[in-house]
């Protein structure tokens, strides 16, 4: 924290230490006090017999007002200090609590997950410090869970499927989004078309799963097919299958699940692409036309490079999405028929098979896989701002 230099003049080492301590103290004190105030308010309101609406109003004022007041008081306190100390401490009155809460809720659980992942299903000892007095418990397995992840059959299936998800899910979401954006841009029905494509975005993954269950609904051969997909397949002389569960085509039955996410995500990519395309100056295309470019060349050599940043952003965002995919698989197949993915494995191991150590290890692997994409994604965002 010390390297954030807001000081107008050099501080002595002693002052630097004091500054760091006070900064951390401010960062921790504010949220702790805020939680205290909020908790006291919760207890007070819980035990009161006032009418519901009054409780709601008081709660809102108490919650928002209390936190605001807290910030205000701390800011006021800091402003009583000499000028250079205000510069040192004031940012931390506001940023500090956010950093602290972020650490508490994100960094600590991550570290804890990693800790748990080093143990078998019996889990880590109740107190971390007991390892110094009692030594490592028998449940400690080191990195064995990680070794298992890369050797176990279901996990390897999950990795394979996740790669399918990334490759097909993100690529087709980007391609279809781009096509819709370009076509809609030239159409009189732009708004209607875009709204229709965008609508699925409003549906939750679970909801989409339910909808697509109907799409893939299969009936015995002698009765009419009510599922749209099978109705079409049968009408064309094919054989009805419960497509996501059709293991004969494994691993390609995963595509029937991936389609669902593409259906959901095309709207997202279309909206971003549409905005980016509209941002291309008309004169740029005209210059291309005069330079001798055909419409296809203008598209691939001027428009696509121009919106390259957006394409990468959308693509990486969907890659992160598909890496973490869970709901659709869980609702449609529950991970059976060779459709297991990393996240379903994580859930199954942690909460069904009651092996939190193994589950945590999977979660850590998932995290490690997402982080580089995330960093790339963030960098793209930053670059676009600079553009």
């Amino acid at each position: 924290m010390q390297n954030i230099d807001t000081t107008p003049q050099e501080l002595s080492t002693g002052a630097k230490i004091v500054a760091a301590v006070v900064r951390i103290a401010v960062a921790i004190a504010i949220p702790l006090l805020a939680f205290g105030v909020l908790y006291a308010g919760f207890l007070f309101l819980r035990d009161s017999e006032a009418p519901k609406w009054l409780v709601v109003i008081v709660a809102v004022i108490w919650g928002v007002g209390g936190v605001a007041l807290l910030y205000w008081v701390f800011n006021w306190l800091v402003e009583q200090l000499p000028d250079n100390w205000i510069a040192i401490l004031q940012p931390f009155v506001f940023v500090g609590p956010a950093l602290f809460i972020l650490t508490w809720f994100l960094a600590l659980p991550t570290i804890r997950s990693f800790w748990i992942s080093l143990f078998d299903r019996a889990g880590p000892p109740d107190s971390f410090f007991s390892i110094f007095t009692d030594g490592m418990p028998a449940s400690f397995v080191g990195l064995a869970n990680y070794k298992a992840i890369f050797t176990e059959r279901l996990m390897r299936e999950a990795f394979r499927n996740n790669i399918l998800w990334i490759v097909f899910g993100s690529t087709f979401s980007v391609i279809f989004g781009l096509i819709v954006a370009v076509l809609a841009d030239r159409s009189r029905w732009e708004r209607v078309a875009k709204s229709l494509v965008f609508l699925p975005m409003a549906i939750s993954f679970v909801g989409a799963g339910v909808i697509w269950n109907f799409m893939y609904e299969v009936r015995p051969p002698n009765i009419p097919q009510i599922g749209l997909v099978n109705a079409i397949v049968v009408a064309l002389g094919g054989e009805a299958h419960s497509w996501p569960a059709y293991t004969a085509i494994s691993p390609w039955n995963n595509l029937f699940l991936i389609v669902i996410v593409i259906w959901l995500q095309v709207g997202f990519s279309m909206v971003l692409f549409s905005a980016a395309l509209k941002g291309i100056p008309e004169e740029l295309m005209e210059a291309g036309r005069i330079d001798g470019a055909k419409e296809s060349q203008i598209f691939f050599r001027i428009m696509i490079p121009y919106i390259r940043g957006t394409i990468i952003t959308v693509w990486t965002t969907i890659v992160i999405f598909t890496l973490k995919i869970f709901d659709v698989v869980w609702v449609m197949t529950g991970g059976q028929f060779g459709t297991e993915v990393i996240a379903t494995q994580f859930y199954r191991q942690s909460f069904v098979a009651r092996n939190p150590g193994y589950g945590s290890a999977i979660a850590i692997i998932l995290l490690v896989a997402v982080i580089p994409v995330m960093i790339y994604n963030l960098r793209q965002f930053r670059e676009q701002e600079a553009f």
Binding site: L284, G288, R289, I290, D291, G292, A293, R308
Partner: protein, 366 residues
């Protein structure tokens, strides 16, 4: 190298007619300037020629070929845009080479031409840069470079200097004029700035409201404006217009504005005889009005008086806003004149440079 011809060209956007019966012959290797206030149709005319807009009626020829239905890429033109429209993802080199690459020009030919253009425009050491890393003046030169490597028959420029600061604009103006001499190609240049028009054009086409008002050399536009619009548009400050009556008395012809009366020189009388006794518009440029003591030699003086209302000293020029009684006007006076607001000043107008316009048609009486 080619001539350009507009023949009865109309352009309509829906019900709005933005180009009305444009007829113009532009000679091969000519530097033609389209000038006029915003919305006059000058850019639209250029875009019609470039093929970026469709012609509603009439024909445009490049050389002897009707290009109405020829796509922009086959018209053998190059265009410099106001915003430069450089491809942001390409280096300066690639920006200039793009058009040649699309035309499948051999690689070493491209290289030769781009480097040549880079030399001419002083971009030789910037060829690897992206447009983002260039200054406004450099970008403008890249835009010009992109046009010249193509070696087109006609060069189109749509206000290429309007995004430059005033100082840079002056030097860029000169370098474009020089480029025209060196390339010996037809240039068509759109601007709203009459200084650019006057300094660069072989001929200037003045447009207003979709109509072509006059086409002529800069000198003739200034000396012999065909109508009140051109008279008022060319020259700064603008020409003064007075409502007047032509009066014939004792064998002489006078312009009578009500406030003052000026004698029409014998040499200029002939075309005006038909208007004797009629209402006309009398035009006199500010620079053709003198303070009586500082009148230039060789003028045909006509004395009158007016009250000084505003004094503007520009250093090399003194602009006076004067009132002759019922009408305000501007005069550019010798800077040695000492004056103050409220002074009644003796003036002379140079009747050799008088202009008379028909009150109804606003056309010059010749």
């Amino acid at each position: 190298m080619a001539s350009v011809t507009y023949k009865n060209v109309y352009k309509r956007f829906g019900d709005v007619e933005v180009i009305k019966n444009m007829n113009l012959d532009i000679a091969d290797k000519e530097f033609m300037v389209f000038v006029g206030p915003s919305g006059c149709g000058k850019s639209t005319n250029l875009r019609l020629l470039a093929g970026l807009e469709e012609i509603s009626e009439g024909e445009i020829y490049i050389g002897d070929r009707v290009v109405n239905d020829v796509p922009p890429k086959d018209r053998d033109i190059a265009m410099v845009f106001q915003s430069y429209a450089l491809y942001p993802h390409m280096s300066v080199y690639d920006n200039m080479a793009f058009g040649l690459k699309l035309r499948k020009t051999p690689k070493d030919e491209i290289d030769k031409r781009v480097k040549e253009a880079g030399e001419i425009l002083g971009l030789a050491n910037l060829l690897d840069r992206k447009p983002k890393a260039l200054s406004g003046g450099q970008r403008q030169r890249v835009a010009v470079g992109r046009a010249i490597v193509r070696d087109p028959a006609v060069f189109l420029m749509d206000e290429p200097l309007s995004n430059l600061d005033a100082k840079l604009r002056v030097s860029a103006r000169a370098s474009i004029s020089k480029l025209h001499r060196d390339l010996e190609t037809t240039f068509i240049y759109v601007t709203h700035d009459q200084v650019e028009a006057m300094t660069m054009g072989d001929r200037i086409a003045v447009l207003e409201d979709g109509y072509l008002r006059q086409v002529d050399s800069p000198r003739n536009l200034y000396n012999l404006p065909a109508n009140m619009f051109v008279a008022g548009f060319i020259g700064s400050p603008s020409m003064n217009f007075f409502d007047a009556t032509l009066v014939g008395e004792e064998g002489n012809l006078y312009v009578d504005t009500g406030d003052f009366r000026m004698k029409v020189p014998e040499a200029r009388r002939a075309p005006y005889e038909a208007y004797v006794g009629k209402q006309v518009i009398f035009g006199l440029r500010p620079e053709h009005i003198y303070q009586a003591e500082f009148a230039a030699p060789n003028i045909v003086p006509a004395p009158f008086e007016a009250m000084v209302e505003v004094v503007e000293l520009l250093g090399h020029e003194l602009h006076l806003y004067l009132n002759s009684g019922s009408k305000s006007f501007v005069a550019t006076i010798d800077i040695r004149v000492q004056t103050h607001v409220g002074e009644r000043m003796s003036l002379v107008g140079d009747m050799n440079n008088m202009h008379l316009f028909d009150k109804d048609t606003e056309e010059a009486i010749r």
